[in-house]
């Protein structure tokens, strides 16, 4: 079976994220403003702005002259990257081994998933369902990666463009040479030679392409002819180190928050150890009962995966939370190395007892389930409502 590469292209995700953050309607004439220090040109714009002549790359003065009611919003690249990462996670959750391409695209070989999803149509449905709503996501498919990426860029939103092996060359022929993976100077050289479309490049003799453009040009010549380039290289899905706990009732007592934070730190540290890594930073987030939120980011003096040391750094900060908490969230950056620490030759009796207790608890939980070893923590022992006084939490020695 020949390969079938599926590619997605989500060009307007940064605009969608910026609109949501600025609480602007999607149908208003809005464009992305320039980041600080960048040339004074507008970025992506909504269809309402485009209808009045605004285009990405237009100088701000000219854009405002064309559309006096144009509203500029600030782009948030981090939030857009996070939103795209969630898109990739949704694709991976559907069983696709994706390779991120640039900041707004991805591709995967659909061969192994065709039977899982009931053929290419089923795969396309799953892919479209994974794309963010309102971000103008496009899907393309082709036997080669390069053609699939171009198909995704050319597809209409909501209508996947699927190319057969015979259609690839004809599809690529009218596309501009700027789409070829070439350095700008080589693209300029092609323009100087009067070669503006991929079809013109594909029509060159092989020796001429090699002589004029070198090996990068030869690779581009092959792509323009619809020859298979490299296959997609799926990424290893990241296992973000984060854990959250939702409280049945908003919690305001520090002991209860500390108990919850210890649980989360244990989970995050265990995940880091499982990856052979240590945490460099930890992020504490609390969703407050009144709808606000609280965030603290801590940089550890040295990377560690020891829950006790993480607790020493994190728990004092919980006292800064000024309102009852409905959800507590702890995440970490596990880019530190575990190595480099002096090991203890003879563990202390307390360490030995704790290790044995932990092992015993693990065995009991393995046999009886996760709910088998719990302990009582005080939440609000002064409360006049008995169900708010105590709670059960997994026991961690």
């Amino acid at each position: 079976m020949c390969s079938m590469i599926v590619a997605v292209h989500v060009p307007r995700l940064p605009l969608l994220v910026a609109l949501l953050q600025a609480r602007r309607p999607l149908d208003a004439p809005v464009a992305l403003g320039p980041p600080p220090g960048a040339p004074q040109v507008v970025g992506l714009c909504t269809p309402a702005a485009a209808a009045q002549g605004v285009r990405p790359g237009l100088r701000i003065g000219e854009a405002l002259a064309r559309c006096p009611v144009l509203d500029l919003v600030v782009a948030d690249p981090d939030a857009a990257a996070e939103a795209f990462e969630r898109t990739l996670e949704r694709l991976e959750a559907a069983g696709f081994a994706v390779e991120p391409i640039d900041v707004d695209g991805a591709a995967f070989d659909a061969r192994g998933t065709l039977r899982l999803h009931g053929g290419l149509d089923g795969v396309m449905r799953r892919v479209r369902a994974a794309l963010p709503v309102g971000a103008d996501g496009r899907v393309g498919a082709s036997p080669t990666l390069f053609a699939a990426l171009q198909a995704a860029r050319e597809a209409a939103p909501g209508r996947p463009l699927v190319l057969s092996e015979e259609e690839v060359t004809g599809f690529l022929a009218p596309l501009p040479t700027a789409r070829l993976p070439l350095a700008p100077e080589l693209v300029a050289a092609l323009h100087d030679l009067g070669l503006r479309t991929m079809g013109q490049v594909a029509a060159l003799p092989r020796a001429a392409a090699l002589e004029r453009l070198g090996f990068p040009g030869l690779a581009a010549w092959r792509l323009a002819r619809g020859e298979a380039g490299r296959p997609p290289r799926p990424r290893t899905p990241p296992q973000p180190l984060r854990a959250a706990i939702a409280f049945p009732e908003p919690v305001g007592s520090l002991p209860a928050l500390e108990a919850a934070a210890r649980l989360l730190l244990g989970e995050v540290a265990g995940a880091a150890r499982g990856r052979g890594a240590a945490l460099r930073t930890i992020t504490l987030r609390a969703r407050l009962a009144d709808g606000g939120s609280w965030v603290r980011e801590l940089t550890l003096r040295e990377a560690t995966a020891d829950p006790e040391r993480l607790a020493v750094a994190a728990l004092p900060r919980l006292g800064e939370i000024a309102a009852p908490v409905s959800e507590l969230w702890i995440g970490g950056d596990a880019s530190g190395a575990v190595a480099g620490h002096q090991l203890t030759a003879i563990p202390s009796p307390s360490q030995e007892r704790r290790a044995r207790t932990r092992e015993a608890i693990h065995q009991v939980r393995a046999a009886q389930g996760h709910e088998s070893m719990l302990r009582v923590v005080e939440m609000e022992p002064w409360s006049r409502r008995p169900e708010r006084r105590w709670a059960l939490t997994p026991y961690e020695p």
Partner: protein, 85 residues
């Protein structure tokens, strides 16, 4: 992962006198007469949210000498905490 609240209230049937004071508690088909009322208090909380709390609590001594906490919601329904009879 979540904390599990302890002593979660469960529905109960409570027989009251004319003044609304509990005289007997029935939970799971077992009726217990109220011997004494040790305490009672009113909790009106979270009135600024969509889930206001309006409860009249009674700490009851029921036969044969157990102490239970019961409360009446604003709509007249009764609940008893899990330490009930």
């Amino acid at each position: 992962m979540s904390l599990r609240a302890l002593d979660v209230p469960r529905p109960a049937r409570v027989t009251c006198d004319a003044e609304g004071v509990p005289r007997a508690v029935t939970v799971g088909g077992r009726r217990r007469e109220v011997v004494a009322i040790r305490d009672d208090w009113l909790v009106q909380d979270l009135w600024w949210t969509g889930r206001p709390v309006d409860r009249r609590y009674f700490e009851l001594v029921v036969e044969p000498g157990r102490v239970v906490t019961a409360y009446r919601e604003g709509d007249g329904s009764w609940f008893i905490h899990s330490g009930g009879p």
